[in-house]
Amino acid sequence: MSQPRDNAQDPWSRPLIEQNRQWLLAYLLSVTGDPNAVDDLVQQVFLVAIKRRADYDGSRPLGAWLRGIARNLVHEYRRGKAKSPLALSEEALAELEAAAQADEPYWADQDYAQRRLSALRHCVQTLTARIRTMLRLRYWKRLSSHAIGKRLGLQVGAVDMALCRARKKLCDCVALKMQDTST
């Protein structure tokens, strides 16, 4: 568990910030759906946390405290958006926080990130060449679905659907591989 008392003396050490950064990234991306804003938001969470460290009760989980800060920042972010963002109910937001909370302990293992990436690399190799090309164009070249479609002669909807299926397949594959490595 990523709590300062488990990580010895400094609750603001680089490894501890890094392990909390990972689940915060996923949580904030799922709430905002804005890949461009997520890195800034995560950074803001830690800035606020360090600024308000006097308020932090060391006997409580650090992750829960960070989630509280992230939640407030998300409210500010949503208020500042001209385009209406995803409207999440209290219940849905609570479920997302619960998912982040469940994910949090895994990152305390310093090898976890590497093992996960290695599993993902292997899983990507199991996809068809065409899907791998799409992934490369999306994440390496950072092209939009429209641009990918134009290059591969596909409709935007077909690109979105193919990428969506690929992500689901990768999720399942990585989960299976991580299960294998942990047992």
Partner: protein
């Protein structure tokens, strides 16, 4: 397309930032209806993060852009006209020199503008209404995010104004109404100890633990030294009142020099000559049989809804936006537009009182209008006691819910301890919500039994594995009416009364209260206020 694939596609487009408003609305509605979908969303977001990391390692450094140039001007012999890919020469030193010049100019300009920029002491985190800052005799209006330095004076100028000042040390001051406040370090040699002068108005203070003993307030009548606490100060022309929520403070009368120490729940009133009234600590009186908080919405104007229970320090509510609010003749609020109604301070008195008896009941008279809003929502909150810091800190919530039925039903959740979410009590009424005057009661007994009553009838009953203890109820929980901490689940309609009891009302009591009707039927004088029948 199947529902699952549809959900996956919506999530995929949301995470790519390419979802349309209609798709976002659809995804929001599905997340409400299917709580498990949130976990899928999180898993896909985690995959998106990992894919970005995986491909980031292989991403090339920024390349020269491909330019499309007109052949008439720069066509090159031997190349086809129309589109020519060229790589512009990198004049990095030009960019670097320009950037350096801009930065230098900025620094010089700033230095010239404010040769002696004072050090920041605190930040104005939130400002509602007009907030003015006086620095060296020059007053101007400021907004949230403004930095406050030593010797600045802050002023809020209307009864609806509110300003939150957060010190870099973490302490937080909230100014309410017409308030004037001057901030200063206590001594030039010690910038970690603070003096705050409150000339007039009302102030809530939450002092960080690290600042215990280093924070002092002065008023025209008294000096208040804080030894780690949260407290409230009211300064009027003839007196100062200090209310302590938690911790200890030392109050010294300016005129007589006498000092008293106050603990949580204590208060002192100081006038120009001496202490007019002092209660050093909260009386450990048991919770009354009557309500510990009661709202009959009799106010004729203004954003404040008064707690008329007569128990402890009044826990008043504040209506965030008055737009779309109608006062009903005889009492009651009609909400025609979304708003948030929240207690002005944490509901400590409810939490503390109910901990002793380990029971709670919430009674509401409402006329709900769930179909009046154009926004499609499966959950609409009627009331909640929850912490704004975390959505998992809902202690009890009453909701209008359309899922799984297409029509709205009453739904309630209750937690005594912070038990896991899947173990908390969830009650769904049999009868559907109608736009008529309705009596709703949620009770939770010390034995762990929760029940939901609609118009005097028990419609849902559940026993919790966790016996009521309430010991882990967060102290920073607020009471919400018609909405929740996020402010996105407003339930429109008429609100006639709300009462919170620290005991589980019996079936007979609830039936009798239903038969007696809401307080508006008795000219606003509520029978419940005098205790059980």
């Amino acid at each position: 397309m199947s529902g699952t694939h549809d959900n996956e596609l919506l999530i995929s487009r949301h995470l790519a930032g390419s979802a349309s408003p209609r798709e976002l609305e659809a995804l929001g509605a599905r997340l409400e209806a299917e709580p498990d979908l949130a976990r899928t969303l999180y898993a896909r977001a985690a995959m998106e993060r990992d894919l970005r990391v995986l491909f980031k390692a292989a991403r090339p450094a920024t390349r020269g852009s491909r330019l499309r140039i007109k052949p008439s001007r720069r066509s090159i012999a031997g190349t086809s006209p129309g589109s020519v890919a060229i790589r512009p020469r990198r004049r990095w030193w030009v960019t670097a020199a320009a950037a350096a010049a801009v930065i230098a100019f900025g620094i010089l300009f700033r230095a010239k503008q404010s040769p002696q920029q004072p050090d920041t002491l605190a930040v104005l985190e939130q400002a509602r209404g007009k907030v003015y800052l006086d620095r060296e005799g020059a007053e101007r209006e400021v907004r949230s995010g403004h930095r406050i330095a030593a010797h600045d004076t802050l002023r809020t100028d209307s009864p609806d104004s509110e300003a939150q000042v957060v010190y870099l040390s973490g302490s937080r001051l909230t100014l309410r109404g017409k308030t004037t406040l001057a901030l200063a370090p206590r001594a030039a040699t010690d910038d970690t100890a603070y003096d705050v002068h409150l000339a007039t108005g009302s102030l809530d203070a939450e002092i960080a633990h690290a600042q215990a003993g280093r924070f002092a307030f002065s008023t025209p009548h008294a000096r208040v030294l804080v030894t780690g606490t949260s407290l409230m100060l009211d300064v009027e022309p003839l007196r100062t009142r200090v209310d302590v929520d938690t911790g200890h403070v030392r109050v010294t009368c300016n005129a007589s020099g006498r000092t008293v120490v106050l603990a949580g729940g204590g208060y002192a009133v100081v006038d120009k000559a001496s202490f007019a009234d002092v209660r050093p600590a909260a009386r450990t009186a048991p919770a009354p049989d009557g309500p510990v908080a009661l709202y009959t919405f009799q106010e004729k104007r203004g954003p404040v809804v008064h707690d008329v229970s007569g128990f402890g320090k009044p826990l008043d509510l504040r209506v965030e936006t008055l737009d779309g609010i109608v006062r009903l003749p005889g009492g009651g609020l009609r909400l025609a537009k979304d708003t948030v109604i929240r207690s002005i301070r944490p509901a400590t008195k409810i939490v503390d009182a109910c901990r002793a008896g380990r029971e709670v009941s919430v009674e509401l008279w409402v006329r709900p209008q769930p179909y009046a809003s154009k926004a499609r929502r499966t959950h609409r909150r009627i009331m909640a006691l929850s912490s704004p810091r975390s959505s998992r800190s809902d202690l009890f919530v009453m909701v209008l819910r359309t899922d799984p039925s297409p029509t709205y039903a009453y739904y309630a959740r209750a937690r005594a301890e912070l038990e896991p979410r899947d173990e908390e009590v969830r009650l769904l009424s049999r009868s559907e919500v109608r736009p008529e005057r309705t009596h709703i009661v949620l009770t939770r007994s010390a034995a762990g039994r929760s029940a939901l009553y609609v118009n005097g009838n028990c419609e849902a009953l559940q026993d919790s594995a966790v016996r009521s203890g309430f010991s882990e109820w967060p102290a920073d929980s607020y009471l919400y009416v018609a909405n929740g901490p996020l402010g996105n689940s407003c339930s429109l309609g008429d609100y006639l009364s709300l009462a919170v009891y620290c005991r589980a009302l019996s079936d007979e009591e609830i039936a009798a209260r239903y038969r007696a009707g809401p307080p508006q039927d008795k000219g606003g004088k509520l029978r419940q206020a005098v205790g059980p029948e």
